[in-house]
Amino acid sequence: MNDRSKLISRLIAERDFRADYIRAKLDVLIPSQLRGLRRRNDLTQPQLAEMAGMKQARISAMETQGRVNFNRETLVRMAATYGVGLIVQFVPFSEMLEWENNYSQDAFNVTQLADDIDFLQPAAASVRKRARRKRNPRRVLSSVRIAQTPVTAAVTGARAYMNPVQQERAQMRLQFEPSEQAPPQTQVADVIDGPNPSGSVNDWRALKQAAAAGAGAGADTWRKYAA
């Protein structure tokens, strides 16, 4: 009987051995992921410690196998610091092994919230997926931009071009009149082809220019929301 057969027979027969197996994987892969995330973000341990509100020694311990017994709260705190999600999921042993085999600290990369278009703009994400499915080269190659309307910027916390007064107004609109005062939803054409200065409110600068010129549907929209 070879080593793998022995391992499998013991995993089937002994509960404690199964626990040791799971523990061993997590003891190694959680610290490795934390280190991978830090490397991916080009952070030093002191910098991360400051961001997470922890001591550098604790960060170092968390990135080393077996030095920290992670509880859920610690993992949540680290996930929040990096701006990524966290899944704790029961899976078959085969899936756990696959995870371990496919995992590489060097290649480990998790999209952070600020860049997570699928989360920030599900509509845009679905358009992108549809475009990919159709294999239209123009659509696949064109980058999908997040329409930076004041409202989306307030929701996402993205780098907005609004001044502070505009940001405050947008947030107030979200709180009190979310549906009626919000500008029209992003159109598919806007996402694919870019801003549409004539009718849509995606390009506020274009609307502002239209307002300055004093005519057109864009000018009306600008007056309505900038008031």
């Binding site: 040791d20 994987k25 190694v28 080393t64």
Partner: protein, 153 residues
């Protein structure tokens, strides 16, 4: 800089290209005095607990894929005392107790060699001459008077 065949030339220096691409992953070897002797495997089978063995296997699998060994999960990159300056590093495998493993980088690309596994608490080492033995084995390796057994991962 002009290139000539399989090398770069710069004034009098000739820099040969590597004959083959570096391997994607690390290879780990156990030190052995002969083809039959493998003290590291004996330590692995005889001294480590189940959890220690499983953790060691998981560590090998993780570190194997990390190109820069500075990012390995190892406890000491430079040893002190009699091992100071000998470029021997230490892995700690934390299970019920912390097991330790001393190793060196081998000649060739992405090769690491385990010299000895041991356990210590305070000044008490098991085996008692673990550090000196590691040093002796390193010297034997440098002389080419040893056999390496590759660990399967």
């Amino acid at each position: 800089m002009p290139s000539r065949g399989n090398c770069l030339t710069n004034h009098k220096k000739v820099i040969n290209f590597p004959s083959q691409a570096p391997p994607a992953t690390w290879s780990f070897f156990d030190f052995g005095y002969s083809a039959e002797s493998n003290p590291v495997e004996d330590w692995y089978q005889g001294q480590l607990s189940d959890r220690g063995r499983l953790t060691f296997d998981a560590l090998l699998k993780d570190n194997q894929k990390i190109a820069n060994p500075l990012n390995w999960q190892m406890s000491k990159k430079h040893m002190q005392g009699i091992l100071k300056g000998h470029q021997i590093w230490q892995w700690t495998i934390r299970a019920e107790i912390p097991y330790r493993l001393l190793g060196i980088f081998g000649t060739g690309i992405k090769r690491a060699i385990f010299l000895i596994g041991y356990y210590h608490k305070g000044d008490s080492y098991t085996p008692s001459d673990a550090l000196q033995t590691a040093l002796n084995r390193k010297k034997l390796y440098e002389k080419g008077a040893c056999v390496l057994h590759e660990r399967s991962i």
